[in-house]
Symmetry: C2
Subunit: 227 residues, 2 copies
DNA sequence: TAGATTGTTAATCGATTAACAATC
DNA sequence: TAGATTGTTAATCGATTAACAATC
């Protein structure tokens, strides 16, 4: 009987719920910045265009602090609970491979620390880039990846290479003991079962916009026709 | 009785299906590049780690060409159908506001054309940036946005500003006749019902990785304990 | 007290998966 | 013909929403 059952990150929540939690957290931050002390699920739901029961269920899954009828939730406490639950308060070391446009952009993005991720090192195979720094993050030769993985315990591997190199880089990362891959390349990665792969695919997002847009434009055309 | 019912983009598919279609398309491209002419849903499912019935349902929703028992689908035809369905073959004009790190990175990303999106112009309020170009895309004064929207028919507005400017930029875009917003800022945008908003939120992705990772690490710790 | 709000249990809705007939 | 594969209909699973009792 260990304490792990009580650990915030261990409680099971559905994927849709997990996806909404950072959105709540972000909204709570804006409200806290406005000086608000408490907030109701009703208000959160209205602001974010969600169902209020859903908001309550989501919040109660991630936070055991609970809210008070008539008052709502204590914003500061709720934020702390969400951050704990999402693992934002324990630092996860990451490395990034592929220092192109996107890679550089991620290296200089300062928002990751607030989510508990620290990019410890970057890798490339371009001699002009190796040895330089971006936002204080040193760029190493890709061949040093296994060595550096042994040096520090790296949790997350960020892949921002061209798709044809992605699988190779992924394999090297896994050899180095990395257990979670954040894949920004379009390549589909083959990995063993116990590895977490999260694909960041702009084409997927664009497809959704593109499709919705086309449907909307045509619907409007249709309306015009009947007038 | 118009032809719009037959239009690919008008067929209704579920959101999860729509999300998977570009993934199929990408995989088909890799197979076509290897010289394959046909492929079965079974093979696609195995390669992408999906259920094969799901793959068949998804494909039949987006393509009316159909497959042949024992042979599978004609790859080239299926790719064409998917591209049609996703609207990749009709050009959608876009503008981008906020030429910081991320904005610049998107401007120089060449993959959007393949998805039917063309970034026609970019906007910023920094005098040092106004008048310059990135990858052949000119950067204008943000104040010229309404004028340029009138000049060309812009479909998609990409927001890569700081969160505190996002709502303002969004309003200006909507005034300019834009109907779909691709929001890369963390701000939640208030929009009328008939506007498409797609939020690209790295914090959400990171939260999912972070949570899964924490759960996995703890599970493994747990296993170690019992040994 | 009355009413806003929470949190839970039950009902509905939608997506995934299984079973199966059709066909190349 | 036999077997791989498609596509559809039915069953299952999971998430959202509705209904309601509890409470501040």
């Amino acid at each position: 009987m260990n304490t792990k059952q009580n650990d915030p990150a261990n409680r099971e929540v559905s994927k849709p719920t997990l996806r909404r939690l950072p959105v709540y957290l972000n909204y709570l931050k804006t409200q806290a910045a406005l000086g608000k002390k408490t907030i109701s699920a009703t208000a959160v739901a209205a602001a974010l265009g969600l169902n209020e029961v859903q908001v309550r269920k989501d919040l109660s899954a991630a936070s055991k602090s609970g809210g008070r009828p008539k008052t709502g939730y204590n914003i500061v406490r709720l934020m702390a609970d969400l951050e704990d639950f999402l693992g934002y308060r324990s630092t996860k070391e990451a490395i990034l491979v592929g220092v192109g446009q996107l890679g550089s952009s991620l290296l200089s993005f300062s928002g990751f620390e607030a989510c508990g991720m620290r990019i410890a090192a970057a890798f490339d195979n371009d001699p002009n880039k190796i040895g330089t720094e971006i936002s204080g993050i040193r760029i190493y030769n890709i061949q040093d990846l296994p060595y550096i993985c042994k040096l520090i315990h790296v949790h997350i591997g960020i892949i921002t290479t061209k798709p044809d190199q992605a699988q190779n880089v992924c394999n090297t990362m896994l050899d180095g003991g990395i257990r979670a891959i954040w894949n920004f390349s379009t390549a589909h990665l083959e990995t063993p079962e116990n590895v977490i792969v999260h694909n960041e695919n702009l084409a997927v997002s664009l497809a959704m916009i593109s499709h919705d847009l086309e449907a909307m434009l045509q619907q409007e055309e249709g309306k015009d026709d009947t007038q």
